[in-house]
Amino acid sequence: MEIKPLLWRAVLLGMALLTALPILAVFGYVFVPAPEVWQHLRDTVLTDYLLNTLWLVLGVGFGVLLLGLPAAWLNSMCSFPGQRLFEWALLLPLAMPAYIIAYTYTGMLDFSGPLQSLLREVTGWKYGDYYFPNVRSLGGAVTMLSLVLFPYVYLLARAAFLEQSICVLEVSRTLGANQWQSFFRVALPLARPAIITGLSLALMETLADFGTVQYFGVSTFTTGIFRTWFGLGDHAAASQLAALLMGFVFVLILLERWSRSRARYHHTSSKYSRIPKYRLTGSMAWLAVLVCALPLLLGFVIPVGQLLYWSVTVAKDGVDGDFINLVWHSLMLASLASLFALLLALILGYGKRLNNDPLTSLSVRVAAMGYAVPGTVIAIGVLIPFAWLDTQLNHLSKQWLGSSVGLLLSGTLFTLLFAYNVRFLAVSLQTVEAGLGKIKPTVDNAGRSLGLSAFGVLHKLHLPLMKGTLLTALLLVFVDVLKELPATLILRPFNFNTLAVRAYELASDERLADAGLPSLMIVAAGIIPVIILSRSIGKSRAGEK
């Protein structure tokens, strides 16, 4: 009894530290003073970085809630024309990388793009004669990111609504609440942890985004870190900027924890019955269709249409063996990385449930910080310790074997998978934690008192209870890795490309149209897991078969 918790803690701490290592490695520079560069930053661009980042986060936060929440509620509780389609289709924007949706909308809505050109042709207006919102702006970045990130809120909120016992809602109604009251006073507060999880995933992704803001010329912390590290060549100031960004994230997380204070969110009723979906008719039905169709159209159908158009009209190279290789590499990396992340998340999540002391809690939190860190920073953070280890190994092998063994870690797929884990652990961890949180502690107690070991409880009780959660964690990371670019670009081995790399190379050479086909394939490969995801959630409501 005395040894086991200690062992657990050591394992947890070790794993958490290992995952946090790259971030800590970059932060190694934090204590190197860089007063001159800071003076320069303060005098010139720091205010911009701060304000733009703040507006971006607030804007995307508002945007994803606005797009995701109403759609989640409607699809859980009501029936209206097309609802069966929207139910899963609303997850599709998840398959669309943010930088790619940015390319497509810029292509369409830019001043020199087809829409505005047509407008000018028809009306005879010139530049300055009319107002047209500029896509390449802070507002544009907020819109693009909201359009592809709202499914996180939709996904988790809908799962939460579906898992709520109907009894709770019925009781609220019999106690005199109307539909709106029972939504705002019962369903919404009960779903709060899930909604917050979705929101924080979306916001962390926003903070880590580099492709979109850079393409739109919006200077944020992320672009600032790059500029300081590479342009000014100052690693200390850059990592201090990154540390500031992390501080930002940490404060957000603490605020949420604090506001939740001692409230817990287990389901206490085991009585479930099929919810009779409320049938919407007339204008209400059309309104519901609009609420669901708009995000789907803007976040998926229109940009995919543009990609299709590009692929069909201009793409020179068709699907050849090289291209199939790209697809295979992308799928392989995504599958392996999502399995690793799930395994790690289970160990950390369950370990934390068993030993809920502040130290464990903190180390698990730190391990999951990577989601808000830009991929390039993580890649360099991974290289620092791995390259060091390689050097040491080579010293040893020279001493003992008389020859060097080359790079064993750096430049291998293992390094890349490790980096993905650092970057995306938060996704699987948060999902697994949310799933575990819904299982009452009395279940564990009952299991243990009936003779199950700690592992037995996880294996025999928890895992079967949260099959849906596990699948969700797996697929979310899968789709994320499929879209990942910066870390892949830096860490990949020789002659190893993925779809995202190919799309980036063409797009950054300003050949947007040629980038259409690989982009389309990323989306296509992401669609299948997204659909499985949606089906599994549909089945997750207790009492529905």
Partner: protein, 337 residues
């Protein structure tokens, strides 16, 4: 079963890249589609296999530095001279003695100490809208701060290395203070906050948002030869003006290569560089990507010829790298986003 597959792939991935005799390992920030076809030809004619990782300049430098003496990379290729200079400063490269390279590449386009070599060159001239600007109104980069250009200039973000290098070349001739004053005046004349890439500046000019744009020559060339009708139409509305012809010449940059300090296949790396300045390769660059050959005597493509002869800035390109941090600071201060 799944675990076994995972394990198998992991083990396979752990195997380090092989160092057979017939190989050369390249880290390149030139995009794959711009070099792979030449590599394939190289392999065909020499039997030497080329292994390639592409990426962003600085990230690749960082990887090279961190991998230290164990790096498998033999050759570093970048699309900018400043970055090659940085690699030299970081101690990541070694000098190469090759008569072919010295003979074929002009002295301004390679490192004085033979640490790096330019393989193709591109200019960054001024593009003007033909029916709004007369070429007589233009003269130098410096003159673009004139009041008459207020609200008429399009240029991309200062995050971009081509702008940083251009400023670096100005610092080399005019000094920090004058360049600072120039940047402030230049920014005042912007038609819009910088956005998009080089092609977007030309498109915006063609569409009427501004009258003057800065862009690299090959983007303009690709727009003219590409398959997108809109791009082509936009490019046809503008023309090239070669600035500073009376003094230092138009700003040019290169794509180039350097052999890494610990290259295990140095001979093959040098062979590859020599192949890349052969007539055949230089011609391919000119035809496929509208870049200027560095080798004297290789004819530029018909299109490049049609743009006319020009005097290129003869500052040694190492200066761009030396002045990079200063250039970024100047643009920050000037409010060049």
């Amino acid at each position: 079963m799944l675990k076994k597959i995972t394990l198998a792939i992991l083990v396979a991935s752990l195997a380090a890249p092989a160092f057979a005799d017939g190989e050369v390992n390249v880290y390149s920030s030139r995009k794959e589609q711009l070099i792979k076809p030449l590599f394939d030809k190289f392999t065909e004619s020499t039997g030497i296999k080329v292994n390639l990782v592409t990426g962003k300049d600085d990230a690749l430098l960082e990887r090279l530095k961190l991998e230290g003496e164990n790096t498998p990379a033999d050759l570093l290729m970048t699309a900018d001279a400043g970055r090659l200079h940085r690699a030299v400063e970081m101690g990541l490269t070694q000098p190469v003695e090759s008569e072919t390279l010295k003979k074929d590449i002009p002295a301004t386009l390679r490192d004085p100490a033979n640490q790096w070599f330019g393989l193709t060159s591109r200019a960054r001239p001024i593009f003007y809208v033909k029916d709004k600007v007369k070429p007589e109104e233009l003269s130098t980069y410096e003159a673009l701060t004139d009041e008459k250009w207020k609200g008429r200039i399009c240029v991309r973000s200062s995050d971009n290395i081509y702008n940083q290098s251009m400023l670096g070349s100005m610092i080399a001739v005019n000094g920090v203070e004058k360049t600072q004053a120039w940047a402030e005046g230049f920014v005042r004349n912007f038609a819009r906050p910088p956005e998009g890439g080089d092609r977007d500046q030309i498109k915006a000019a063609a569409a009427g948002q501004c009258d003057i744009a800065l862009s690299n020559t090959y983007y303009y060339g690709q727009m003219l030869t590409g398959e997108e009708a809109e791009d082509k139409a936009a490019a046809e509305k503008v023309a090239i003006f070669w600035p500073n012809q009376q003094d230092r010449g138009v700003h040019v940059n290169i794509s180039g290569a350097a052999v890494t300090k610990v290259a295990k296949n140095k001979d093959n790396a040098v062979k590859l560089m020599e192949f890349l300045v052969s007539d055949e390769s230089q011609k391919w660059y000119a035809e496929a990507n509208q870049e200027y050959p560095v080798k004297a005597g290789v004819a530029a493509s018909e299109m490049l010829k049609s743009w006319g002869e020009f005097k290129a800035d003869s500052v040694n390109l190492s200066e761009l790298g030396k002045n990079n941090a200063e250039a970024v600071k100047i643009m920050d201060k000037a409010g060049w986003k």
